[in-house]
Symmetry: D2
Subunit: 382 residues, 4 copies
């Protein structure tokens, strides 16, 4: 079940602020995806053309926009990025992300809808896979051989979206701040924080295993790096926990996790994940590039390999398996793409910081400071 | 009520592992401080002499140690650091901190006791105050004029500690890991995390107020720094919350907060606090040293001061008050000592990381990694 | 001899781009200050009022500006910050810094001149001193007792500046980018880089001395911090050296150091200096607040002090002297103000980065990349 | 010409401190490689087995060691890591790196020699290539398709090294500190600093090109990142320059660059390089994974690709070329291996910091501090 859409459904009333129809569309589509176990990919961002100007002021007008309305629906032309896992999806969910002007010019870019991935005119243009395709053994790339999430640009070549799949229509006001204004964002943040916790536990366990294999965990500075991984993991866990215990029904009545612990994860985890990769590089060091293919255990140099790739606490097989996993998790193209993903999947961190500052309750804290100063001043003067 | 000793009392049985008497001493003293509202200072650390060697191997033997036992009690000679707030305390609590060898030589340094601050032979030698004593107005140093916690070295010149105030006696085994082994540490960590939350809220509110006064919060990079303060504050809050909701009775039956969320605060907050001071410096910038004494508002240049120290959103009085508070919180000797305090009050961070790594449940996570690799391997081979 | 003005004199022609008179004023004033050994303070920045708007768009118009021209000179009203060391100066040099619009509105703020510090209507309003004035001994604050550079706001209450001391008059075009366009900036950067080298050597030597006193330099992580100080010091030294060996006559014929090595220092040193203070805090740790006044060596507790404040490699006197110096250099109000100074004396680092990017020769490097790609492409296709 | 060996030759006398023969061997081999343009790979490090113990105390004795001397030479058995570019080399140079005990036990590991890569019993076991072998176009991986430097473990299966290729024989005293004691290290450091400058210029130019392609260099925070790249590049350039202008003949009479500017690069560049990769990730952002194969420009979706992958300042071809280069330089397995290489090629940074602290002239700076304190004290007392 798509968490985005669960969030949307919980805020269905919001979508109907001008036309009831969109609330009904949201509810009907929610029932549809729930009952039919629909898998979705989504796309939230306009393509990078001129990033110094808003979408409606581009010299090259390449972003997806509404070019026409018909009785059957809206017609979309242009591109959107980044859609992931499109190969497995039934439907493509197209949603607003960045701030839109509330002008006539920007209106064609203000929409939200769902469309079947095989709709006429809809095309996905994928990046090259990060998989190392001719690897001697799948054990050499245990992650990239299995888990590459192919990213794609989505091209709309006059794609017709039927009216009952339209959720936002030429409505910048509804688009802007949608996720934070409704209860959608906490739902999404809870989902990705859970994902972050799983990743943190994985990287931490991997680091422990590497450190133990050659006994470097007896060094104080290594313990320092391992303790950092513990902190990052337990930080995410504590925040997820706090968001759950303080969950409360949102305006729509849907149970909503507390937002602030999750915002904290959202803002702080990306750097932590990059640091996790760095720590695994620092622990494995030269060993990460001195380990051969798993296939060598069974090749012409098997005797040498079995002898000379032992670690203090493990035979050559276990060391090669472990260090190839570490290479894949922290050095490979797969890892590089993971790091990039963590930095950006939830939005541009520079803009997000502005959003967080904007929505935070600042007055409570400012008033305390000013009140304290007034009290001190009064005491001085009396 | 001293949180250290509340923790100790909850682990009273532990202290009697060799002699029941110490359990009884703990319980009786706990009742005493509770019933008489006793205020305590404490000292945990040996003086810095030769920090490359353990306490029992020093050329200059200056650390406090047991020099004699008598019928009346134990006699202590030597020095301990850092005792804070001694001027307000009834009793001095002397506790083990760093790891001790379990040798005959180290035994005299393995103790824990309480003693009245006015015991014969007990002396406190304080550092110079960080207060700026001739300030024209107390409003110029609103924090340092009020809240300097004087640190002191404690000198024991053959101080007699009566037996009923002795809790640990020549027992390195009991000393080592005492705080983490018993439920004491989570109690202490919960207390100081609450203190950290208060500090984080204060620094955040102060930063908001400064940023608003001159409208710099319209700049994206300033919002970024303010968002960092929000993250740090909400991080501490989430961890305190998580530690509370997962509190459970410890071995002694006393309700004990969950440890890991608090360890996270313990390890991560010190750098955050230093960064908070840095952010306030970066927001205030030259303005922090361009603001005169509050007394100038009423001095010979009052007209100039009232005119030229206005900010966009405040008159000269409010700006001077606010910027002097910011100076005191983020630039002054008081601030420097606060930063130092946060770095070290809970122990040497390098050693603490080792402790955290030592006590963490590593096997669970290592086993997952190794199990996953074994599964993948089995699949390859089948 | 003021380095700013030496730089100005070397670019005297530039000042006369509209009226020759200003070139002559520059030359005459340069001869005057050289021949009479004139000491100058200067002020470059408008006061912080509304930092989201340019100086000419403020609701509260407090910045110094030209309010009138007379036969005798120009008349200035308003405030400027931050003037330092005004108590020792003969003249106040008033120079442009931040970017000015080239509009009619901004013209009154576009000036440069020199004026005697005792000119009628000119007033300096100082911040409180960072000195701890009632210290028991000057050895307790060896730096702040001697070297506080008092910062001040400068108020111009209709100050008349004679025409022969006016160097820039209602000329935003000349103001903008003045320092980088002429050879002035490299001269200034060379001067402050030399100052930075002296500071780096001082902090490094201090850190070595502290680390040796208690033998902590046997620890690998301490060596790591000490090596950082070596790197920072040798980095500044190498850049100063490179700027000197590649010095060349500028457009005015004055020998001008190579700019880029000095820009590197300008951008990188502020964080290094703050880190130096941090490292001294981390090395001194609790010892920094456990050391008493130097006066205690001669006070009622002299015997205790002499005994218990020894370090492995030094008696109590040498340890107290050293640790009080360290406190003053890295923890005190004086240190806080030094850190703030290093961050900002050369301009807002966020704006400076933009300036550096703007003036750097980017094309050379971009062309190499694009050329390489074209070559590769050509090879593929052939 | 191998820079290691040029350095060695310049310190030939040192090698003969016990037996003249080794000096002669060095000189003769130097002439040989110079005259015959011999290409060498080298190996400096023992394999990672138990990294908490020295090489001579391992339970699993896998490191290369001398097992026998014969009239013909020395016989080596065991493994060494990491040898790079072995496929192109004539000879393998085997040199000491980490500290060795001067005990009988450690003696067999104390050697230095050269041997032909095709010597009987000598085997190289390589890691899997980081190349993406089935890429649709070599333009998709312009770096990894060309420049993978294959790392290998070297196995000595009783390899005979003739006496005239032996340079160090059971001589731990000679091994320890060899590089810094002789003039070898500055020569090596000058070579790799030059390499670092080339890399810095490349990454900087790439970042400029990316930023310009979509006009993000109009954003202040982007300018900040680009300015960082300028600083890193100009830092390396200034240090290389300073090392050259202060070059002087070493003890052997060979011109030797000044060491300290190069040590600065050695210690500071690795993090800078990793940060360069990070900056390119932050600039390219989602665009790095939204760009398809270069082959798509000529594939079935060519019309879409040509339209929708344009950037503000470039057509789809130039954007795809540029962004695939950026992916390869900053995200791919090739990039990950580069980052790892920069972190470790010059030694473990934690140990290196200790080495730098050890060899630095500390007394000069400590004496200044202590002298200053004595002066101040004398003034107080007079």
């Amino acid at each position: 079940m798509n968490i985005f859409f669960t969030g949307f459904a919980s805020a269905a009333d919001e979508f109907g602020h001008k036309h009831k129809r969109f609330t009904e569309n949201i509810r009907a589509y929610h029932a549809h995806i729930r009952d039919n176990d629909i898998c979705m990919t989504h796309t939230l961002v306009n393509p990078q053309v001129d990033r110094s100007r808003p979408v409606e002021k581009q010299d090259k007008d390449l972003a997806a926009k509404i070019v026409k309305e018909t009785d059957a629906g809206i017609v979309i032309r242009g591109a959107r990025m980044v859609s992931t896992l499109c190969a497995y999806a039934h439907d493509l969910l197209v949603l607003p992300s960045t701030y839109l002007a509330t002008s006539k010019e920007a209106e064609p870019y203000a929409f939200g809808f769902s469309v079947a991935v095989n709709a006429p005119g809809l095309r996905f243009i994928c990046r090259p896979s990060v998989t190392h395709q001719n690897a001697a053994s799948p054990m050499d790339y245990p992650l990239s051989a299995r888990f590459d999430e192919t990213d794609a640009m989505v091209i709309f070549d006059d794609v017709l979206v039927p009216w009952d799949r339209v959720f936002i229509h030429r409505d910048a006001e509804l688009c802007n701040g949608l996720y934070n204004r409704t209860g959608i964002m906490p739902q999404i943040m809870h989902q990705f924080s859970t994902k972050n916790l799983a990743k943190a536990e994985f990287m931490m366990g991997l680091a422990f295993a590497i450190a133990r294999s050659t006994n470097i965990d007896s060094h104080l500075h290594v313990q320092g790096m391992l303790a950092e991984l513990i902190q990052s993991t337990e930080f995410v866990r504590a925040c997820v926990r706090a968001s759950e215990v303080d969950a409360a029904p949102g305006s729509s009545g849907v149970m909503t996790p507390a937002a602030m612990p999750l915002w904290t994860v959202r803002m702080m985890f990306p750097r932590m994940f990059v640091r996790m990769c760095e720590i695994i590089q620092l622990l494995g060091a030269g060993g990460l590039v001195a380990v051969p293919s798993y296939a060598e255990l069974d090749g012409p140099a098997a005797v040498d390999v079995t002898t000379y790739f032992q670690a203090a606490n493990g035979d050559a097989t276990s060391r090669i398996k472990l260090f190839r996993l570490a290479f894949d998790a922290a050095v490979s193209s797969f890892s590089g793409r993971q790091q990039l993903y963590e930095r950006y999947y939830s939005g541009d961190p520079v803009r997000l910081a502005g959003t967080l500052y904007g929505l935070y309750d600042k007055d409570t804290y400012v008033d305390r400071i000013l009140g304290m100063l007034d009290n001190l001043e009064a005491r001085q003067q009396s």
